[in-house]
Assembly symmetry: C2
Homo-oligomer: 993 residues x 2
């Protein structure tokens, strides 16, 4: 039994660590790859199996690899889904012995198949004698024609009736010498015998698979892997040929790419499927980035075999009892870079710090940097907007911005006695968004009304009313002061402070606003039941009759049967003879009494509420279903993409149609249709000077202006942070300073024209970004589409702004839109804003038993109780924010409280370790700084940290951030490892050969 | 560079095929396993890593295997999800060299850890000299205590504040000799020095993880795998120890199981994670069914190493560029049996033929067999019903059976002038289901009303009315004749014919009925708008006033303002002075005219329709969401299971509550509340004799009886086929003959009592089965729960029957239930009946581009166009059936048309090949027979087949079915392989050593 150590040599007694040997092999390969600079290419691999079809022996394409494997299914017509090519180790090792003993030519100068056959036979003869029969079999098999599944059947087969053919495809029927003889005879008869080695590249019979070329990277060369079983063969034949240059040596490949490698494996008949497995094992190697490079650069068999071993060493092994090798494994979303196999140096990590948030130290330095950064993109900002997806975004966002604005206008009008109303809001939203779209730092931000601003306006108005001051001039002064303060903020680059806004604050804020959207939309839908109550007994005819009767008559009066007979016989009451004509309002005055079931009863608006509910929920449901259809497997990508992009618009249209068809008078969107100030006695332009206002308000207004500044700064910048966050993959850079400058400019203009102040609206901006998200087109088959970023451009916000302004002229269309449809849209916006928040994930996890919890990275590294504690704190913050937002009178402090969450987050450093916070949130600037300074003891004891000043000197922010954050490879136990520990080079590494 | 062939020996020149060598290894192992009959056990494997924690060196449990791997996460407190343990081949090969060179003891008689340490040191010394330092390191490390994550922290750690501990868990910090010295000193101080080898098994400090024991198969023994890095070690130390018998040699394991194997690997500090990987590689082997057996039975190092190689050869290899080894692979739903590795014989295939559907050739032979089969289960049929799930099923199914029955009753009453009405239906449904539940062959079947039966009754009634015969006696005769015919069918085992009902017919029928349920429920909901129309202008008060006025006065009459003044001044019309008192009906007769907006207008029932829609869709939505919650990851299994089981009941209750709260008068379920025949002039008992009927009806009724028989037979048996289908995994066997007998008995009774004839109701029966489905409790962590079958019992149908009968006494509760709730329930039943039908899958596939289509087996084997063609035919059949069912007058032929689909299916054999039909459907009996006869040429040309008689002689059915159907291994290309081809033993197999 000497076979036992067959595959894996271990010299007894002298124990050689596999690790040392594999290190040697790796170093050898790394040497080969770096020293040799022969040109290398991406490899497209095609696996053909020798198959007998209708008496003819052919090479039938059975699988192909761009990166992942695609098989031709057994019906011979269908490509399988791309999958990870798993092979059993058995077959890989069998391939290895075959490669080792087979023919190997690394500079074959062949131009046609017969030459190739001769070369292989010659090379094989070097090692051992080959019978003439074997030679002829090799030659004949190589000459068989190649058939690809994308080709239409070329001859009308006699066995055409009903899939008989299926049974003969794909999997090889054994070929025998006799078959080849027949084939040759026929080929000869057809006039293309052996001499006709050069097949014309564009033979009219052979159509190349041009569409598939898109999926193959440019410059790719082909590795043709051919495997087959031949009955008459006595032992397996293997050959690996590298052509001296890429060549088309025949109709070998389904795509018009030149061949560089040929692998041939012919074997006697064995276990079913085993030659296919060997071919797949070889193909896997040929598409491997490192092995293919080795194959290009190899100078000897030793090089190839080393490449083989290096490849083998890197493979992942699944134990037989835990995995079914028949399973076609979906390609993973991400495959680790193979660069580590090429050289030892670890790859430099990404620098996460955001250069725009570093104080320049110069006046308006940040603003100038922002402009410099944005100008180069300015033209593309418009060009990039020409895409069908943007149309969908505009249609959706138009209604999504118009409606809250009109609601806001109505509220504002009520509160300020129409000094500013719906009309002012429409003008403001159009103007502010127009300016922001054209000049903003982050044009994806949608400017809109927010709750705290409304409260501020109300406070200002009440103040003026009580002091009998002119409201609009007063307000104008507040605006001007605010603008001044904001300018100071811009001048000193104080926007850099937003770096203290971590994911904790960001998600708490965004989540709150999203939840408010959801709750408000339900509240609004249900409030329809208040304005339009329903009759619970609709089978009883409604009776709204209400008459005024003389008070003394009321008790005997029988309303329903003889309502009018009463007064005819009753003339005791003084002057009034005809009580019917008495108005309800006058009745009491005239000494009468209102009688009848209609008096004092609410007017029932039946159906309205229930239909509104159906329409509202329906709008959300349809939009949600259509957006999710993007990810379904139905219909081609273009269709799904388009439906997904127009989801909200489609759902709005369908529900509007339903509403129109049913004819139930649901509440509709009402837009003013002429441009004039809401209050006739106010002009458009407001001078800050007013005779009613005392001189000292010119100074005193600086105080409310301070509040306004905090309010505007927080709302504006936190929204910007949320929009600019890493996950959105924005490429054109952000511009916090520029954003704030533009907001300030708009503030000044709005103040002078008596328009409301608008800042960035969180949920609308998020919805805007979400509606513009792009995914990569599929590259290699099986590679997952990657989220690429958003269509960053100024066109959609520009058009949204213009459309908002033009709403005044579209009232006839807009009044068709029922309000519940719009509430459904808000619901949709709120729910989709919640998507993908880590905070939401963590809340979900609270409801899950441990064994069902998804495999989030932070769960691997932080104890579940600590995660829950963190989430609990966040929920607490959210609750407090909610309470403040909900109580109208104190909601003015809301922005301050948002600021407060930053401090809460800071305080949590007392409770949570740096490591936990790193996984659950991100580190705050000081922490990063600390680390920089204190590399020896990175995991600092919490107690040491707490004395640190929370705000820290801002200058330190300019220090480079700690580079290693977020990297999975640098776990705490690594960071803390004793300095003595050597990496990668263990103590025994010196002994390597 | 001699390292290149390091791991895989290939002697140059002399090319040894890996295949031959691996065959030799496999044979060796198979020999070992069969010859040696030492006792073997299931192995539970625990991997501990040597870790430094608070100055103490401990063995910390880092992973465990029942079947799949579970890791302790880096936070040291959390078990990862069970996953497939993938290791890189590098580490596996490293382990192999370590095993080969390490200590190996296969009969260690040690009872405590110090003995073990001595044994290992002694064994290691045999091969090479070991320094004293190394010896002491080994000894100290072995003595470290073992810590398991399920234990609560035993000492109040000083570093308790905020997860500092995390950084020290799980992943080993290097231990050094100094650490061990400290540890020893402390242990000594604590009075448990080296001498204390026997740790008390139930030490009060150590709590064993009892709950986890449930997950480990009984009789399991433990393999303890210990790996660690020690700084001062010069080279790796490996030992594999098998104890001579299972023993508790210390506090090693988290569960109270005896240890049998110990693997120790200590290594100098190397790459991070590498020792853990080696430990995982070893653990993978220890839980492998074959290797663990080898480990039990091995007598020498050679045996172990052969086992290693055999294991290695079977592993699946994933190429590095296509897979990320960091991914934790979910355990697959099914793992292939490893028995093939144990011996060569292929496993006998399952016999698919159904013995109950074979004609016995004896009178009532099938019936007797059925009874014999069912009697042994009879007691368990009641005992198995005591489960909470059954309560959910009863509550759901009660309303699901009651409602259609009442609707049916109303229709039947209308059509037969109340000779049979709701009351008869309630009595019938209670009686028939009671009898069927007690004595039926398949008690899961719910008996109910079906459309065709209704049509038949109507035809019979019309016939009697037109001929002036007594309906009920006439009908009784038809029933008796039908019973006679059915008895003949039972006597001759003709139910065996249902074998011709293939999946094609089955799914077409079930799908049709399900779609009808869905469509009908929507129709019913929308029809509420007809009976309860809504006012599209509810803001305008409704005015139902309608007065009768003299015709000449009508035009000047002003209704709303002075409705009654008119007649006062108007006495031109003759006798009538007070027109107000004129009834609407009399108005025209008296020469008046009806005037007023209320005349002739429909009475509006506002709100009712919209609320009904909300309630109906809501019931479906809530039920659907709750049932799907079963599969979600929220809440513990028990909670989800309970919610899932009561899903429909919960949704009914919540919607009833909503309806009650809103108070809108939606249509309610109306049940009669006294037991008496619907028509007072009919008695309960009906004699077949009637003086009105001519004598010859006694014979003539045989004709309609024939129609009734086809109708009853088809409905009954096709439902039974659907319920008994393989996918439902019923274990107590079916009883087609018994079913039919009981149906016949009920038919007779119903005929005598003038009750409607009830047969198996497809959708209700499917809903019943679905509500009783069981899944296995998790076995090994990570193993997917398996669908086990249904709770087959007679209790739920029995209680459903009784409840139905008692409905008469529950009218006060039942009248709270709005009809739309019930329509929602029907919708739910229809939709869930469609789930999991291959036909539905294929229809979906029609809408999917090829690359998104799921990996169904039939798609691998049948060309997509052929699949679509097949689906198209099925849709066509469905369409025709639908049309027939829809057109009331011809719906009597519906059962015959269902029978027709069997012939259509037969005819499709002309269009589709056997192979295609095998994948898309199943083969019909003749085909199987054909195959049996014609083994040489199994893939018969279609044209040869077409002459076959479609029905075929029934005797042939008794032949054994073709055994190889459905087996993936026997692909067409195998079946058709030339007889010369040898399997498994290729031509070169003789040369094996």
């Amino acid at each position: 039994m000497n076979g036992m150590n067959g595959s894996y040599e271990v010299k007894n007694g002298e124990q050689i660590s596999h690790r040392k040997r594999s290190l040697a092999v790796t170093e050898f390969i790394q040497g080969l790859l770096t020293k040799n600079d022969d040109e290398t290419h991406v490899v497209f691999c095609q696996l053909d199996t020798l198959t007998k079809k209708d008496e003819e022996v052919i090479w039938r394409e059975s699988a192909r690899w761009v990166k992942y494997e695609e098989d031709v299914e057994e019906n011979g017509k269908r490509w399988s889904k791309p999958h990870v090519a798993s092979v059993t180790l058995h077959n890989v090792l069998e391939l290895r012995t075959q490669m080792f003993g087979g023919a190997l030519v690394l500079d074959a100068d062949v131009t046609n198949i017969p030459q190739l056959a001769d070369l292989i036979i010659e090379e094989l003869s070097k090692n051992k004698t080959i019978t003439e029969n074997t030679k002829s079999l090799i030659r004949s098999s190589l000459l068989a024609r190649h058939v690809h599944p994308h080709l239409k059947r070329r001859r009308i087969s006699t066995a055409d009736s009903g899939g008989n053919i299926i049974t003969q495809c794909s999997m090889p029927k054994t070929s025998s010498a006799a078959d080849f003889a027949k084939m040759k005879a026929r080929q000869h008869a057809e006039g293309r015998g052996e001499t006709n080695g050069h097949l014309p590249e564009s033979s009219p019979l052979i159509k190349l698979n041009k569409p598939f070329m898109k999926k193959i990277p440019e410059g790719a060369q082909v590795a043709n892997v051919w495997v087959g079983e031949i009955e008459d063969l006595k032992e397996p034949i293997t050959a690996f040929i590298r052509l001296d240059k890429p060549r088309a040596i025949g109709d070998l490949t389904e795509v018009p790419l030149p061949t560089r490698f040929i692998f041939l494996h012919l074997s006697p008949v064995g276990e079913p499927g085993h030659i296919f497995a060997i071919g797949r094992a070889m193909s896997n190697m040929m598409v491997d980035v490192i092995f293919s490079e080795v194959a290009y650069k190899a100078k000897s068999r030793e090089d190839i075999m080393h490449g083989f071993d290096e490849f083998l060493d890197q493979t992942t092994v699944l134990p037989p009892g835990q995995w079914d090798p028949e399973i076609r494994l979906e390609p993973p979303t991400k495959v680790p870079s193979q660069e580590g196999r090429r050289r030892f140096e670890s790859i430099a990590e990404e620098e996460h710090s955001d250069p725009t948030l570093v104080r320049t130290g110069r006046l308006f330095g940040g603003l100038i940097e922002d402009i410099k950064r944005k100008v180069p993109f300015y033209i593309s900002d418009f060009k990039d907007g020409f895409h069908i997806q943007c149309l969908g975004a505009v249609l959706f966002m138009y209604l999504a911005t118009l409606t809250p604005n009109i609601t806001f206008g109505a509220l504002l009008g009520q509160s300020t006695q129409h000094y500013m109303g719906t009309m002012e809001c429409i003008v403001a939203v159009a103007f502010v968004n127009l300016v922001f779209a054209l000049f903003g730092g982050q044009p994806l931000i949608i400017m809109g009304s927010t709750g705290p601003v409304l409260v501020l306006e109300i406070i200002l108005y009440t103040m003026c009313r009580d002091s009998d001051w002119d409201f609009l001039p007063f307000r104008c002064l507040v605006g001007l002061w605010s603008a001044l303060f904001l300018l100071i903020i811009v001048a000193f680059d104080l926007s850099a402070l937003v770096r203290y806004i971590t994911r904790f604050t960001e998600e708490s804020f965004a989540c709150l606003i999203a939840i408010i959207f959801i709750v408000e939309s339900f509240k609004k839908i249900f409030s329809i039941a208040d304005t339009h109550p329903f009759n619970t007994h609709p089978e009883i005819p409604l009776d709204y009759t209400c008459f005024c009767v003389p008070s003394n008559q009321s008790s005997v009066y029988n309303m329903t049967t003889v309502p009018l007979t009463t007064y005819a016989f009753n003339s005791t009451t003084d002057t009034i003879t005809n009580w019917t004509n008495v108005q309800r309002e006058d009745c009491a005055r005239l000494g009468g009494v209102l009688e009848g079931s209609g008096c004092g009863t609410t007017v029932y608006h039946d159906n309205v509420f229930f239909l509104s509910f159906i329409i509202g929920v329906g709008t959300f449901g349809v939009a949600w279903a259509l957006v999710n259809m993007k990810k379904s497997t139905f219909f081609p990508t273009v269709v799904r993409q388009t439906i997904g992009d127009f989801a909200v618009f489609i759902s709005i249209c369908s529900m509007v149609l339903l509403d129109v068809l049913l004819g139930v008078p649901t509440p509709k969107l009402m837009v003013p249709n002429t441009i004039q100030p809401s209050r006739p006695d106010r002009p458009w332009f407001i001078s800050p000077y007013s005779a009613h206002n005392p001189w000292w308000v010119w100074i005193a207004t600086a105080l409310p202006a301070l509040v306004a500044v905090i309010l505007i700064f927080m709302d504006q910048q936190i929204t910007a942070v949320i929009i600019n966050r890493k996950e959105n993959k924005l490429k054109k850079g952000c511009g916090y300073h520029l954003d704030l400058t533009i907001t300030t400019f708009c503030l000044v203009v709005c103040s002078f024209f008596g328009l409301p102040w608008y800042v960035a609206a969180t949920v609308r901006s998020m919805a805007h970004v979400n509606s513009l998200k792009m995914e990569s087109e599929c590259t290699a088959p099986g590679e997952k589409p990657v989220f690429l970023g958003c269509r960053e451009q100024r066109l959609t916000p520009l058009i949204i702004a213009i459309l908002n302004g033009c709403s005044v002229f579209m009232t006839s269309i807009l009044q068709l839109v029922p309000m519940p449809v719009l509430y459904g849209v808000f619901l949709y916006m709120g729910v989709s804003a919640l998507r993908g928040m880590q905070f939401m994930d963590r809340m979900m996890i609270m409801l899950m038993p441990a064994k069902y919890q998804p495999d989030h990275m932070y769960l691997r590294h932080v104890r579940i109780k600590r995660v829950h504690l963190f989430t609990f704190f966040q929920i607490l913050c959210l609750g407090i924010l909610w309470a403040i937002k909900a109580i109208k009178t104190i909601s003015i402090v809301f922005p301050v409280m948002v600021l407060g969450t930053c401090f809460v987050r800071k305080g949590m450093e007392r409770i949570f370790s740096k490591n936990e916070l790193k996984w659950l949130d991100e580190l705050m600037p000081e922490d990063k700084m600390m680390k920089q300074e204190d590399e020896g003891e990175l995991i600092v004891d919490d107690d040491d940290m707490d004395d640190e000043d929370d705000d820290g000197p801002i200058e330190f922010l300019q220090l480079k951030k700690y580079r290693k954050i977020g990297s999975v490879e640098h776990m705490p136990w690594n960071l803390k490892q004793d300095s003595k520990t050597k990496y990668r080079k263990g103590p025994d590494d010196e002994s390597i050969v």
